[in-house]
């Protein structure tokens, strides 16, 4: 187990380097440092010297490979550095400021989605073959076919404007935040519901056809017990894999959701950084995002081994 973890962590190093390289290359293809310097040195037509100074200050005057090595090394040591923008604030400070809204919304929608989708899938699987099942799965396909945008616009319109139950967008700290988080969470849950319920149902029906279900029935175990104990624990394995993969979202938040609802989270920070071509921020955020993703995969494997005793982490 420990050996497995160490090997997985070692294996993640080349992946992280690859991610850094990808960001680096994409960045240089997007904009040259000179352009960024011009942009960040305000509109007052900066002199060549000012630009040079700026590049020197941010380390953009070194050879390209040196820049890559320096920044990558810094990221691996979790020295995230300063933003390229005029204020030049520390990336870490911003992350500390804005992780909470992302985390709150992501955690709420993650737990709500898994509870609701799993319960609905269980209900549909229990009544498999009945009209409830047929209408339920059809409804899932309908829900899958509606675009995310319509859920958001519809949600904002109905809850925010017509019913005036929730704010349309924005965020406030403290308990007040729950009021603002409500709509994004509802949208996140509903927009993913169709696909998840259908997928979870398939997982369960696959298990229903297994021989051990017949054995359980032959023992006289009731149908509810067969579904909620025998099938559920086995179906938990694929459900886990699909769900734990969503964990990176707990850090980066849903980039989309945050920019739609104007929530000052990490996703919004990242989108702003991209739009203003703040490379220092982008590379730090992408690096951390990749780190959390890899962490999520390892977590998936561990939870896998915890549920399914056949899996050995070696």
């Amino acid at each position: 187990m420990i050996g497995y973890l160490i090997r997985r962590l070692l294996y993640s190093i080349p992946i992280l380097i690859g991610v850094c390289f990808l960001t680096f290359v994409l960045f240089y293809m997007t904009a040259s440092p000179t352009e960024i310097a011009r942009r960040n040195l305000s509109a007052k037509n900066p002199t060549a010297q000012q630009i040079k100074d700026w590049e020197h200050q941010h380390g953009y005057d070194k050879p390209k490979w040196q820049q890559f090595v320096d920044t990558t090394e810094g990221l691996f040591l979790l020295r995230l550095g300063r933003s390229d923008s005029v204020k030049g604030e520390r990336v870490m400070t911003r992350i500390k400021e804005s992780w909470f809204p992302s985390f709150e919304i992501a955690l709420l929608s993650f737990t709500a989605a898994i509870t609701i989708n799993l319960s609905l899938a269980l209900v549909v699987a229990y009544f498999r073959g009945t009209y409830l099942d047929i209408y339920g799965t059809s409804l899932c396909v309908f829900m899958m076919s509606v675009t995310y945008l319509v859920y958001i616009i519809g949600g904002q319109f109905v809850f925010g404007r017509l019913l005036k139950l929730t704010p349309v967008a924005g965020f406030l700290p403290g308990w007040e935040s729950l009021r603002f988080a409500f709509l994004p969470v509802v949208v996140a849950v509903i927009s993913g519901m169709g696909a998840s319920v259908r997928q979870f149902r398939t997982f369960m029906l696959d298990e229903m056809n297994q021989d051990y279900v017949r054995t359980a029935r032959a023992k006289g175990v009731s149908e509810a017990q067969v579904l909620f104990k025998h099938v559920l624990k086995n179906a938990a394995i694929p459900v886990l894999t699909t769900s734990v993969q969503a964990i990176p979202g707990l850090f980066l938040g849903s980039i989309l959701l945050e920019s739609f609802f104007n929530i000052p989270g990490l996703g919004n920070y990242l989108v702003d950084a991209i739009n203003s071509q703040d490379f220092a921020v982008v590379r730090a955020m992408v690096f951390i995002g990749a780190l959390v993703t890899i962490f999520g995969y390892i977590l998936t494997d561990i939870s896998y081994a915890l549920v399914d005793k056949r899996v050995r982490l070696e």
């Binding site: 799965t137 945008l149 149902r201 991209i274």
Partner: protein, 342 residues
Amino acid sequence: MQAFTSLFTISNLVPIVAIVVVLAGIRRAGRQPLWAEAYRRLGRNRAAIFSLVIIGVYCFVATLDSITWKSNALAQPESVITHLFNAMHVEAERTYSAPFAKMTTGEPHPHPLKGWHVLGTDGSGNDVLLETLRGCRTSIIIGGFTSLLITPVAVLLGMLAGYFGHRVDDLIQYLYTTLGSVPGILLNIAFLLVLGPGLVNLCFALGITSWVDLCRLVRGETLKHRDREYVRAARALGVRDIRILVTHILPNILPVVIITVTLNFSSLVLSETILSYLGIGVPAGTGSWGNMIDAARLELARDPIIWWNLTAASTALFILVLALNVFSDALRDAVDPRLRSS
């Protein structure tokens, strides 16, 4: 005739060639027992036929919108649909107007409309029906062209990784794990910034993120087939690796690939709307449901509510995606009854 050819541009061949190739492929496949059986099963599924007809209608509209000619030597080339609307004198108005309305909406002093608009007009006075119809082409291109881009790459890399294993596998796995570790939407944005806006570039950007899953699937399937007896037998007979891959393994994984690509088609269509919101979708001027829905976001706050724009675009999108989902489900069930979801 001379005049006609000069007005009728060469780019019109593209949609025609695409349709001919697709139809020929479908017919060819029908000669194989697996697909012949699948067609037979599909033929019995009424929902599948119905959704196929709907997809066909969308494709037809998209084709009409792709065939262009200039009305005179100096004009911009315009599509069949635009010509049709021009012929019916559906002209651009000043600004918003409700469906069937006679006056514009949202102006302090409403103006009488020049024409008659079934679905009303949008903020710049364009006919919503025309805009909606023009969105078909964009959606079909995004789904179809992106699939066309990623499928060969993903299948090739997946088969190489699965078949040769070792170094090749490590390298290819490394490639897609790295890509998969970056949030997909970020990659889309970054690639669009690099490539610049445009419909074709959008397809490339979407392709970058969506080949990973298919590649992983193909790799897994190849691994499964590599150790089957028929492959071992072929290898024992001294058949070359390339030949084994092309003649033995490829035909066996093709059904799974086709099913996955069809299932993926609808999510590609859906992602166009999201990228449009982020401002990196289809450039303005190309019909796009994403842009229409995005524009409608602000309109709902107005009084009176401008609902027709949003409704038209999202309904058109919904029907296409629903038909695609129903059809790809039916196709999966028809090709491989074992994968049946019930």
